[in-house]
Symmetry: none
Subunit: 251 residues, 2 copies
Amino acid sequence: MLTDERKNHLLKKLQRSGRLVAKDESRNLGLSEDTIRRDLREMAAGGKLKRVHGGAVPISQDALTYPQRLPVASPEKIRIGERAAGLIEPGQVVFIDGGTTARQMARHLPLDLSATIITHSPSIAMELLAHENLTVELIGGRLFRHSVIAMGAEAMHQLDRTLPDACFIGVTGAHPEHGLTTGDSEEAQMKHRIIERSGESTILLSPEKICAVSPYRVAEWPLIDRIVTHDLPNDFRQGLAAHQCEILDVG
Amino acid sequence: MLTDERKNHLLKKLQRSGRLVAKDESRNLGLSEDTIRRDLREMAAGGKLKRVHGGAVPISQDALTYPQRLPVASPEKIRIGERAAGLIEPGQVVFIDGGTTARQMARHLPLDLSATIITHSPSIAMELLAHENLTVELIGGRLFRHSVIAMGAEAMHQLDRTLPDACFIGVTGAHPEHGLTTGDSEEAQMKHRIIERSGESTILLSPEKICAVSPYRVAEWPLIDRIVTHDLPNDFRQGLAAHQCEILDVG
DNA sequence: AAATAACGTGCAACTTCGTGCAACGTCAAG
DNA sequence: CTTGACGTTGCACGAAGTTGCACGTTATTT
């Protein structure tokens, strides 16, 4: 067996089992411990692993101990959220969708705002705990991990008992011709229903979604009253000109 | 087992459980107490933990910059949550209440547990996002800030469509004579309803609630199958002796 | 105040480590 | 074909690390 081959084998085994014992490997490979130790030493020098007495462990195992990380929002999403937060009038009943941009919106709502927020996102609900004057109506249902929102029949059922003044919806695709789309069938239906039931519908459109098309249709442009976005291209604007859709560009 | 590996193991266990007992760990790992003490001493010197007589505790929370403001849970609550988490059987449909102790319970559920969790707490739902094999059913309704749970008619309505195998409920008062109580009328009704509808009812009883009495009654002892608590006084035990209520004391 | 448990230190047995060195195979130049 | 440079491997041996025990000290409990 070639030296490089052996090193690769060791590295793979380390990643698989989380540790290496020099003695065991020497027996497995039919080589002396010295050889294994040499390999480990060299790989440790190359930063591939961490050498410890008796064998080796993966590097920076400490870094893995904090499993919870807050997803970082791009500056554009933050500014879109900030702008959208200012659109809510006191006293309104407003639906806020899940997703990172909507979360930024929730985070930027004035602390003393007096209104009712309906949401099917537990993470949005958590963001609003500090707002004393907000009434938060949580939509229940089966939790969809990817978007961190409640969905399914139960959610639809509960949603159908609401009639918000306005809604703020995120999508994964917005195209002048193909309209608004998202990556999950049921999610698309739910967003559509919310838009249907809301007096005024606003789309939160982060830059990477512009001109993208996802598999499932949420709504066509005529249903949308407003989009909040960042650096919207001119041809996109012209494509929307026919519809009465207000464009708020924070770019 | 490699020394480094052992230290990591101890550190992880400390972070999960909130405390370490040198004697227990020496027995668990099949090593002498001296070895464990040496490890703890070295990690304490490295600032990884705080050494105390008998074992170790985490570094004061202020030093750690957690991404999310984590409510400080007492070691007792952590251990009660840890114990309760082990009571869920694979495949069960289980209701988990809101509150800090319940949150610790959610946090200590095995990552690969396959079950269905029903909860009216968005914070519990958020804790369970990483558990791939869990189905999470979120109960919606009006968000009650104090306990971070959904309540009201909508929540009751949705709750009445569930029939959990078991429920885990927190209360703010537990008294041998006056039973289980809490500080909000509607919350009390809701907890009662959950207990009624669940096959097996477990109360999460953190020490400061023992022998306390709050204004609104949740349930009498006969409805309760089990309590998980910490250092339950003997007179309390005797008061419960008449009822068939299992007592799990993690003290 | 006495009893008990936990602690730290020194020490001995054992394991693992690193280094120097010799043996062996490969390969290319002579 | 021979030879020498080079890399790899295994062994020997002193150094360093790890572990458990003994013993005197300190902290906690009763």
